[in-house]
Every structure is written in structure tokens, then in C-alpha cells.
Symmetry: C2
Subunit: 449 residues, 2 copies
């Protein structure tokens, strides 16, 4: 037999069991949160016809894409969940009810240059709300509430949702005579936090020929410590700006009713989001202790989801979390809760006799009560079996020897405290169930103090 | 704008929202069931180095595989979950605790000829138990219990788990002087149910030169109505056969303690499973009203999971469900429960005022109580909003007009019964929660009577 060295591709994440449990818990929390807001799950194909997936074409994406021929068919692996959503909505527009709210959590593929913390296969968790022809501003106001509830349910406390409106930026550009360079100005402004005020001013004036005083007014406005008041001073001077200010005020005004605390929400006029795509509210989410990580949940309002696939106008709003990267970052920052139960079983049943009928009966009883039980009947020493429980962090052992069988009991050992008791089956099941119930609320994330 | 016709590739399944909810419910039930038996979740990469994935090489699989170059890298998409498991266990053998029990539910890819009910991208749901060097027979006995609990939890009642042991077949072949043709005989015998006794006898004698009387004895034994008694008559004549009979008896003997009813379990000596791979107990699962569908859950015991990747001997036992095909079959046979709640929300909140603060506050309260709520604030007629609820089968509407705001109430309408009541927020939340609790146990599958 020729042995091939087993390996996983560079830029592809494969977790050990304990990490995988934490990752799946993260997905479960997000699914449950999205469901609370009326989002339906969606699952699109990972492989698509290249012609369909690349309908929009061009850009950085096309170079990174995994694309190949199978027979005569030109195939490509999805590189995000937005293009597949656009395809799905366009295809099924007569079957769907609008507004269409869907979440999708799935793998996407980008053949980027491999580097630490960058992945080529990674999970995205997306939600989008798609309207038919129109979509009320209240949907834009609801998004921060979803972000807040999701991260809070994960156990994160120190984060801030930063919100801006592209109409505010667009209106300011018009007002300052920068409409022609709007795209370049937008992308430059987006770098404010990263490269700082001076470099942004230099790029605006030197690279894009923006008038120095206009550039200064723009940056002063965007960096204002009281952005709402500053914006009000421009009121009535530009139509687009007025709409933007109004939308931003509506969004901010609903935060309290949505239960989003003031410390987790901020209007930040410097948030631009690079994509041309966005037309209204835009969102970023920062871990306040780790701003260097950048946004962990971003998105915005757009006017036309599926213009490459249908004449129908489909405005929407959506956000995305890069889950694989987030998990990587959380692990690196020691934010994954070490108290999170990751054991594959709640009870390890240790039969000491050849006939294990008694152990099987106990296992069946535990499982019917919703308790995860594993029978360890391998021919190994008892000490090795306890080491196994220890390595997997299984919280309880149930020992069944001749004595227990004769007495009709089971010796339940709490492997954390070392405490052990001989109980009859019913009492054992109840005892274990009660102790497990206390651990149900442990979150995935625990912030270091 | 050039419009590209949106489409999904042939042989790829994409479900509408209601179907997707049922599909995800199926996955959730399987995950919960596997967890009860101490299996840990695993997620391996979909893309692998071709050299690694095809270490075993050859066969039908290699022709069907999606394989391509990205730069200089020879890549392939996984075609099952067993090879990735072998790779994973070989790679991480020092990190894992044995026996290693894992489940994996994920997409696999096979470029088969497209035909009705055959998929090129499809979900498999696999469990395997891997031992280091040895694995106790009790693990083989536990598998039917997992299959039983899984399908029962899904709502299926009319199914039968059929079990055989490859050592029984191997022993019989030795005893009847068919050892040399064992592989061919095994694969022919596997077709007994499909092509019938006469054709199998003809193939054995004519194609593989089996002696007519040996062939008849073999088929008579395999088709015996009392297989255990028939096998006992061969006792002591062949060592392998004796081991097989003993293992089969042990497996069958534990069924009652595992809670598997007699009508859902059968020793069937005609079950061979095509793969050379299996060495002990083998499993198939038949929908008793639809045997023509074939096995919906199959697997068996094998001696060496990862011989292409490591010198370490890793015996195991596992089963697999082809979930996408199963779902397709269930839909086609009208087995998907029409009573399964598929609505994306429990309550549709209908604000009748421009300021929706009051609606947002109700939504926040409902969500905090775990009730899925959607605010429908689009500028549409009330009638259209009720149609929306109807189309999505949302069970409750909460109407909030000026009257309700003044009175501090909400009008809760049960959209199934038409009943409606004005309640204060707390009472409304409690009322809806109670009515929803009654629907929690509805299974995915409901068999037509």
C-alpha cells in the first residue's frame, strides 16, 4: 500500500472537535436570532454555471474565482451569497412573497493569495430583506437590532454598530461640488480610520483634484463629534442630503424601541463601505477593544439586487458576517469561552460485565430523556476509559458492575467534583438532567477581563 | 444592461422556502439524534488536493469527480464523506480520542449522468465510530438503534432495518467452495431482491462457473425464512462462519434493550452491500411500503478506514443517508407532512400608523420571549398584508392602529380560526406563546394512510 500524506489545503479551515462544537454553536445562535426576525433559511448550490455567476463580471472577484470545465460545461464556485440570492429571487419571483427575508449560512470560495487569517473556503452568514419595487426605511432601522441581538446572544458585549447613509455622503459631495469624483472620494473617505485624516486629505487634493477647502469642509463634517447637529446645519441646501439626514434620523430614532443600548450604536459619517452598490443606510460593526480587526458585520441598503437577471426592480438591505474569519479572530484573541461545553456526550457509560444489556438499557433511558450517552464497551482498562472521559470533558460517568446489576442501581460519578452516588435508573437520569440544565446558557464568547 | 437568464444547474437541488424549512428540520432531527449517541460534529473542506482525495484511486468514482487545476494546484471536490474522514483521522490521530464518534452532514459532488431523482450536488448524513486497533461488536449492535431513533424522530413508521454479517456470507462461500469467486458471488447475491432468485442462480452458474448444487444451497440458505436456525445447522463447520453467526446473534440480541421493536428489525442474509470494504455487520433500511426506492440508510463494519493515509489500523462502523435523494423521494411520495409549520415568522405585526415605535416595541417584546416576529410596514393595503401572511402561512397577525395605541393594547388575530382579541402586550405575548407550544412536536414526515 502506497501511503499518501494526508493534508488539508492551505487557506482551508478544518477544526478539531472542540473547536467545531463552538463553531456550530455560533451558527446555531445566528440561525435562531435571524429566525426571531422572520428570516427564512435558504440554501443555494455551491456550483453554478459560470455565465450566471459572473453575469456582473469584471473586478477583483473574477481573478479569484474557482472556475473550470466539466465536459462542455463552464462551472464556477460561488464567491459570495449575494449573487446566488439575486439569481434565486429572479428565478423564483412568482413563487416568493415580498418582502422576502432570507438568511443563508454557507461556504464560499475565493482563491486569494494565502496569508495568515485569510481563507479560500470560508463561511458567510448573510441576511437580506428584498422588496418588490419598494422597501420601507423601517427595514433599514431593524438591521442594527439584529446585529445587536446576534452578538449579544453569542456573548460579545464590547462592540459598536456604526451606521451612516450613502445619501448623506452623496448629498455632501453634490453640495461641495464633488459629484464627478464621487466614487473616488467615497473610496478614499472609507479609509479615514485606517490611514488617518492627513493622508485622506492629501489623496483627495493631490490624486483626485479636490479643492482644498472643500476637502477640509468634507472631512470636518464627517469627523464631527456631533454629526446630527453638524448635518442639520446643511439642512435645506441639497435634496439628496435632506433625504439622507431624514433616513439617518429615522434609523437612529428607532434604536431605543428595538432595544439597542446607546453604547452599542453610533452614527459615524466616515463609514462609506467601498461598494458602489449601496444607496442608503450602511453598517459596520467594530469590536471596541479590537478596532484593528476591522468590521465583523457589514452591509447596507441597495436599490437593485438582481438587475443582471431580471427587469424587476428589487431593492433590499442586507448584512454579512465572515464567520470563518470571525472565529479565527476570536480564537486568536482568546475570546472563545473555555467554559463552553464541548463534550460529545453528557454521560459515559462504563459496563464492567461481558453482557452489556444493563448498560444498553440505561443508555436507552438516558437518550429518551434527551441526555447524550455513550457506552464505552471497548476492551480497555477502566483507567483508560476515565482518561477518555477526561480528554473529551464528558461531565458524568455511569459505572455498571456486578454489584450495581445485582442491586438494580448505577454508580453516577460527577467527573468534575469527583462526587459519586449509587442511584436507581430513574433517579440517575433525573440527577444528571438537573445538573446539565444549569449549563445550558453558557455563551460561545467570553471577553477577557 | 444585458440580462442573463437565471438558472440552476441540472442535477442540483434548490428548494423554495417551505421545502427548505422541511429539509433543515430533517437535518436538525438527525443532528439531535446523532448527538444523543455521543457523536461529535465534523466539518471537512469541500475542496481537497486531488492527490489526497484520490489516494485510493480508480473505479467509477474517478470518472464522476469534479477535478480541476487552479494555478498549479490539482484540486477535487469531495464525492463522499468517508474519504475526508479517513484523511482527517489520519492527520489528527494524536489529537483525537478513540473510539472517535463523529457525524457529518454536508454536500458531496458526483458528475453522474443527469436523470430524474439523481443529483450531482447532494447532502450526505454520515456517522462513523472509529477504533484505534480494535472496535467492540457492541458498536455494531448500536447502529440499528440509531437508525430506528432517527427515522422515528423524523416521523417515519413503516420502515425495516435489515442486517447481515459479511463473515456469515464469507464463511458460507468458503464452506461451499466459492472462496475464489467470493467477490463476484457477493455482488451477484446483492441483486437478489432486485432481479430475483432465478436470474441470480443463472448468473452464478453461467457467468461465474459456480456448481449448480452449491448455488442452490447458498440461495436456499440466504432466502431461508428462519435464517438463524438455518445458520445454526452449519455451526462448527467453518471458523469464519461461526464468528459471523456469533456476531449476528449478539447484534440481534441487544435490539430489545436498545428499544428497537421487532417489526423494525430483520436479519436478512441476502443483504450483501456491493463494497469490498465491509467486513462485519452490514445494514440497509427499507421503506416497507416502497421497497422499490431501495435502501434509504446503509452502511457496515470495516477493518481499515485510512490505510491509504496511515500505518495505524483504524477499524470502524458507519452508516450514510443520502439526504437530498431521500427528501426528493419523500416529496414525490407525498410523505412530507403538510401540517409542518414552514412560516418564517409566528406573528406578522401590522402597524397602521406612520410612526411604528409601538410596533417595534411589541416586536422586541415578542422576540425576547422567543417568538418569531416580523413587522410589515411597507406601504401596501391591509388586504395585501393579510394575503402575504396567508401565502407564508404565518399563524398570527398583530394589528396596531390608533385605537390600540390609545388603549395600550394590540389586536391579536389567529389567522387559522379567524378569532381575534384585543390584549395588552404581556397577555398577547403569553397567548401566542401558549398556542405555539402545541405545534412544537409536528414531525417532518407523515405517512399517507
Amino acid at each position: 500500500m502506497v501511503i499518501v500524506k494526508p493534508r488539508t489545503l492551505s487557506g482551508f479551515m478544518e477544526l478539531l472537535p472542540a473547536g467545531q462544537v463552538a463553531f456550530e454553536k455560533m451558527i446555531e445562535v445566528l440561525k435562531n436570532t435571524y429566525a426571531l426576525y422572520g428570516f427564512t433559511p435558504l440554501d443555494t448550490t455551491i456550483l453554478e454555471a459560470a455565465e450566471v455567476l459572473l453575469a456582473k463580471g469584471g473586478g477583483e472577484t473574477e481573478k479569484q474565482i474557482y472556475r473550470f470545465l466539466k465536459g462542455d460545461t463552464d462551472l464556477a464556485m460561488r464567491f459570495d451569497l449575494t449573487v446566488p440570492l439575486a439569481k434565486y429571487v429572479a428565478m423564483n419571483q412568482n413563487e416568493l412573497a415580498f418582502p422576502f427575508r432570507r438568511y443563508q449560512i454557507g461556504k464560499v470560495y475565493r482563491g486569494e493569495r494565502a496569508q495568515r487569517g485569510r481563507f479560500r473556503e470560508f463561511y458567510q452568514a448573510d441576511i437580506d430583506i428584498i422588496g418588490d419595487g419598494a422597501l420601507d426605511i423601517s427595514n433599514e432601522a431593524e438591521i442594527p437590532s439584529i446585529i445587536y441581538r446576534a452578538f449579544t446572544a453569542l456573548g460579545l458585549k464590547k462592540f459598536q454598530i456604526r451606521v451612516n447613509n450613502r445619501k448623506v455622503l452623496g448629498g455632501l459631495f453634490e453640495l461641495l461640488g464633488l459629484k464627478e469624483q464621487a466614487g473616488d472620494v467615497m473610496r478614499t473617505v472609507d479609509k479615514l480610520e485606517k490611514i488617518g485624516r492627513d493622508k485622506v486629505l492629501a489623496i483627495l487634493c493631490e490624486d483626485f483634484g479636490v479643492d482644498a477647502s472643500a476637502a477640509k469642509t468634507l472631512i470636518d463634517t464627517l469627523e464631527s463629534t456631533d454629526p446630527v447637529a453638524t448635518l442639520q446645519s446643511f439642512s435645506g441646501k441639497n435634496e439628496l442630503l435632506d433625504v439622507g439626514i431624514s433616513e439617518l434620523s429615522i434609523v437612529a430614532g428607532y434604536m431605543s424601541a428595538f432595544g439597542v443600548p446607546a453604547e452599542n450604536f453610533k452614527i459615524d459619517l466616515t463609514i462609506a463601505r467601498g461598494l458602489d452598490y449601496y444607496t442608503g443606510t450602511v453598517y459596520e460593526t467594530i469590536m471596541t477593544e479590537h478596532p484593528e480587526i476591522g468590521s465583523i458585520c457589514s452591509g447596507g441598503r441597495y436599490d437593485n439586487l438582481a438587475e443582471y437577471y431580471t427587469e424587476k426592480k428589487l431593492p433590499g438591505v442586507g448584512i454579512s458576517i465572515g464567520l470563518t474569519r470571525l472565529f479565527y479572530v476570536l480564537e486568536e484573541q482568546k475570546y472563545i469561552n473555555s467554559a463552553l461545553p464541548t463534550a460529545p456526550a453528557d454521560v459515559l457509560i462504563l459496563p464492567m460485565t461481558d453482557d452489556i444489556t444493563y448498560a444498553v438499557t440505561l443508555a436507552t433511558g438516558l437518550r429518551s430523556a434527551g441526555i447524550r450517552a455513550q457506552i464505552h464497551a471497548e476492551k480497555k482498562k477502566l483507567k483508560a476509559k476515565f482518561s477518555y472521559a477526561d480528554k473529551l470533558k464528558i461531565p458524568f460517568a455511569a459505572v455498571l458492575g456486578e454489584d450495581e446489576i445485582t442491586a438494580g442501581t448505577v454508580t453516577v460519578k460527577d467527573l468534575q467534583s469527583g462526587e459519586q452516588n449509587a442511584l436507581d435508573f430513574g433517579a440517575a437520569i433525573q440527577n444528571i438532567a438537573e445538573k446539565l440544565a444549569g449549563k445550558a446558557d453558557i455563551t460561545v464568547i467570553s471577553e477577557p477581563v
